[in-house]
Amino acid sequence: MKRLILVFLLLFPAAATGFPEEEILDSLQREAREIKTISSRFVQKKDLSMFENTLRSKGRFYFRDPDCLRWEYTAPYEQGFALCKKKGVKWDEISGEQKISTTGNPMWEILSEQLIAWSRLDMARLQKNYRIQVKKKDPLVLTLVPKAETMRNAISELVIRMSRQKGVIQEITFFEPDGDRTRIEFNSTQTNTSLPQGIFSGK
């Protein structure tokens, strides 16, 4: 009987702790619900096999509930995008500013969907697309494995490290199937502050 219980606990580790994941994820979502705006700086480090060294970029990130985003790199190249209600602009040093829409453009659609889901910690949506596990409780670290094979071709695993500040992400790391890795560290994050006018509609 003891052996049976051990097998059960090995197969279903959550059962051993009274399903804390659900509780943790619920409280995370509750905290995130309180957040209406986010303003943050970030440092992105990419370890890609085609480059000799880690690619470092830095920039700013803004979010306004429910669906406005601005993701902008300030160095080494000025580029980024701003989206609100599925429409917006992207810019870079070569093409300048261009209008974009997530409708009928799967790449922008996936990118914006994911960023919004992480920003809002929309657990319903995240759980629809990922198997979520709590890796560490304090500070909270979550691992997300895409459910769809098509998604797994691009990202094998996501690790999200939460900040001690409620409902705020401190770091996201993407692991790709070919061993490449992207880590984004957020800093100077401010929530529920007023954001500059027009940042979601243009460069």
Partner: protein, 797 residues
């Protein structure tokens, strides 16, 4: 004995023999029709011209287009419905579509974008034509390569880097821009790769599911079953705040069948009531009901003959035939009228033999003219009408007299009715009226728009508009078809067409599959050009530049090996084929561009069909390339209707004139006999022109009936005028005209445009012919050949 004088002894069979013969023939005919029921088709194509090869071909291309076998399911969210709720419902609906009817739902198994992108990048040498390589030649220098390296560094480090990793390694010179630029319009073609089986509108209020359907839209039974199955899915899955509309050929056929059924209940009810009212008011005798036997049996017998002669039977032809053979009611009314005015033992058929034969033969000859029509259905209708009229003549002369023998004395309405002869004034007035109508007639317009003769409910029309907005330009009408002997030949032709559009600078106005799905032959040529371009010296140069510039931006020396490998002479990527696209989960590309007829379709990206057709007109110089537009086909159908109408009216009148010449000999009589049918046609064309109503296919189909009845009225009235006895003809013409107008007046109230069009045209035509026959033709009766004494005439009036 002339053809139109009765034989010396006209046999009048007894009731028993008449019943026996009629029963045997009718049973045989009914059995023949019953055995042929499964050959009856409801395909509307039978009423479309088949003598204009261009129209016939264009209609075939429309039928074979990639959209023809698709069913569009539009889900519309209510004002308080959230986008997520709509998406969940649409996803569930797309997954629950019954596979029995829907073998494929576009985008249900969504393709992996990175796999699709890599598939095309690995086949770069197959996609780049001589123009692209010549442009590459111009920028083949170190500075240009360095600039690309900077771009690649920014791309790999940017937010979309995860998607573009393959692009950087396989295409560091950004050669993909050459084929991606041709695909900008594809973004509007959202149905190509809908998300999870549905496409969401920009405002998130509508979701569109596009599914290939295995049911032939002309198979009404299967179509009904398919639509019922969809209703069940809808009832099980959709919440009340989400509305569902199915748009497809099946839905239109079903909506048409439904309104026709509802119309028929009303029209048949009203017509029957009108007929019984006329019979009850004016004929009164129960035996007069035998008259109805003539149209019923003539239709039965004619339909049997139609079943024996034609391999494929048209339900539409049979339906119209039934309406058309209503004119044979006249023959019965005339025989009945003769019976009413005949003495004891006198065969009434003798009295009306000459006008009935003359009328039957003239009408038959008029209908024979229709066998020259360019519309197959009209030719079949001609056969049916000629058989029916022949049968009606036989029944009227040899069967009906035995059934309607007078067995009660007393003056009947038919014997008492006399038209008001008022000298020459009516004929002058009527001639002026006809002249006025004749002057207006040339201004009549003709409509070939099939939407004017089909029933298109507002709900389906509205949904169709929404679908056009969501699915992009492909549903918008104007298409250019590249039709070769097989798919590869069509694709090759499509490549030539795309080059032609590029050379004209209008390729951006169109959505073509050519940039992503060229023919194997084109791919082979492109590969050859690619290998010729990459000489050993150039390859060496490229390697050196990529390494040097790459190093500057942090790339490893081997980062671009996949691209360098593509420049190798031994590299022969697997060809891009519709099957290959299916394999990588992008069947939509082939599905949207290649029709069931193996032709390849290019769509106009703009909304202005006329402009698109004009832009692409030079494309038709390529043999096998055809421009299709709803406006163009409508115009040609309009021309066909006009041609057919002129044929019916012109040739029909010529044949009728020849017969009238044979019957009457005197020019004035011929002119007078001509007046009722001429009045019918001129009233129709003149009034339509005056009220700016365009004449459509079904208005035109009513013309032969109006002419046929007009001829009958003219002949009977002229025979009556020349006769020296009271045959009751004016009463018969009055009853005939009134019953026809009541029946077609009811038809004019129908909700279905085709039925209503037919009703209106016959109502106007027969109305004019009746007025002319009753009030204009008898102008000589009071002065010439009148056997009645003036006092008796006054009493009868």
């Amino acid at each position: 004995m002339s053809l139109f004088s009765p034989p010396g002894r006209l046999p009048q069979p007894s009731r028993k023999i008449a019943f026996f013969l009629v029963s045997i023939f009718s049973l045989a005919a009914a059995a023949c029709i019953y055995l042929s029921l499964d050959r009856i088709s409801e395909d509307i194509a039978v009423m479309l011209p088949d003598n204009d090869p261009k129209v016939a071909r264009d209609l075939d291309f429309f039928r074979g287009s990639p959209w023809a076998d698709k069913v569009f399911i539009l889900l519309e969210a209510g004002p308080n419905t959230g986008e997520q709720r709509l998406q969940n419902a649409a996803g569930a609906f797309a997954n629950q579509l019954p596979g029995e009817y829907f073998p494929r739902v576009l985008g249900l198994n969504r393709s992996d974008q990175t796999v699709v992108f890599r598939y095309f990048l690995e086949r770069l040498p197959l996609l780049l034509g001589p123009d692209a390589l010549s442009e590459l030649e111009d920028e083949f220098n170190y500075e240009a390569v360095r600039k690309r390296m900077r771009e690649n560094r920014a791309l790999a480090g940017g937010s979309q880097g995860i998607f573009f990793k393959d692009a950087v390694r396989l295409d560091p010179l950004n050669l993909r821009r050459f084929f991606l630029s041709g695909l900008k319009n594809l973004r509007g073609l959202a149905a190509l790769d809908p998300k999870e089986g549905f496409t969401l509108s920009k405002n998130g209020q509508d979701a569109l599911i596009t599914a290939a359907c295995s049911v032939d839209p002309t198979d009404s039974k299967k179509s009904r079953e398919m639509l019922d199955a969809l209703d069940k899915v809808q009832a099980n899955l959709l919440p009340p705040d989400i509305e569902c509309t199915v748009v497809s050929a099946h839905a239109y056929s079903e909506a048409n069948a439904r309104i026709i059924r509802s119309d028929m209940n009303i029209v048949l009810g009203l017509s029957a009531a009108g007929l019984f009212l006329v019979f009850g008011l004016f004929l009164r005798r129960p035996r007069s009901l035998w008259i109805l036997l003539i149209p019923a049996l003539s239709l039965l017998w004619a339909a049997a003959a139609y079943c024996l002669v034609f391999p494929v039977l048209s339900g539409i032809v049979l339906g119209f035939g039934a309406v058309l053979l209503g004119l044979t009611l006249d023959f019965g009314v005339h025989v009945y009228a003769a019976a009413e005015t005949s003495g004891e033992g006198e065969n009434p058929a003798r009295k009306v033999f000459a006008p009935l034969m003359a009328s039957g033969l003239t009408t038959c000859s008029g209908f024979l003219v229709l066998s020259l029509s360019g519309i197959s259905g009209i030719r079949q209708l001609s056969f049916l009408a000629v058989c029916g009229i022949a049968a009606a003549c036989f029944l009227a002369l040899f069967v009906l007299p035995g059934l309607v023998q007078k067995n009660r004395s007393g003056p009947a309405f038919l014997a008492r009715f006399s038209p008001p002869g008022r000298g020459k004034r009516p004929i002058v007035f009527w001639s002026l009226f006809l002249l006025f109508l004749a002057c207006a007639s040339p201004f009549i317009s003709f409509s070939g728009d099939l939407k004017n003769v089909g029933y298109f409910p507002d709900r389906l029309r509205g949904a169709e508009e929404r679908i056009k907005e969501i699915a992009g330009p492909a549903r918008d009408g104007t298409m250019i078809v590249a039709a070769g002997a097989d798919v590869q030949k069509s694709l090759r032709l499509n490549d030539l067409l795309y080059r032609e559009l590029q050379s004209q600078g209008v390729s951006r106005e169109f959505v073509s599959s050519s940039p992503l799905l060229p023919a194997k032959k084109t791919q082979g040529e492109n590969l050859e050009t690619w290998h010729e371009f990459w000489t050993p010296k150039k390859k060496e140069q490229l390697r050196e530049w990529l390494t040097r510039a790459g190093k500057e931006f942090g790339f490893r020396p081997e980062a671009f090996t996949p691209f360098v490998r593509l420049t190798d002479q031994r590299t022969k990527p697997e060809a891009i084929t519709p099957e290959g696209l299916s394999r990588i989960g992008l069947p939509g590309l082939a599905e949207v561009f290649i029709g069931s007829n193996d032709a390849v379709y290019t769509y106009s990206a703009g909304r202005d069909q006329e402009a698109a057709a004009a832009l692409s007109s030079t494309a038709e110089d390529l043999p096998g390339v055809h421009v299709l537009s709803e406006a163009g086909i409508g115009r040609r159908l309009g021309q066909s209707v006009k041609k057919d109408l002129l044929l019916y009216a012109g040739l029909g009148f010529a044949v009728i004139a020849a017969f009238l010449l044979l019957v009457f000999r005197r020019p004035l009589d011929i002119f007078l006999a001509f007046l009722p049918p001429a009045s019918a046609v001129l009233a129709l064309t003149g009034l339509f022109a005056l009220f700016s109503v365009p004449l459509n296919l079904f208005h035109a189909a009513g013309v032969p009936l109006a002419i046929g009845l007009g001829v009958d009225y003219g002949i009977f009235m002229l025979f009556w005028e020349r006769s020296r006895d009271k045959s009751g003809t004016p009463g018969a013409v009055f009853i005939s005209g009134l019953s026809t107008m009541l029946a077609f007046g009811a038809l004019a109230l129908a909700g279905h445009p085709a039925l209503s069009s037919l009703g209106i045209s016959v109502l106007i035509g027969v109305g004019a012919a009746s007025i002319c026959a009753l009030f204009v033709l008898p102008f000589r009766k009071n002065t010439n050949n009148n056997p009645q004494k003036p006092t008796e005439q006054r009493r009868l009036k």
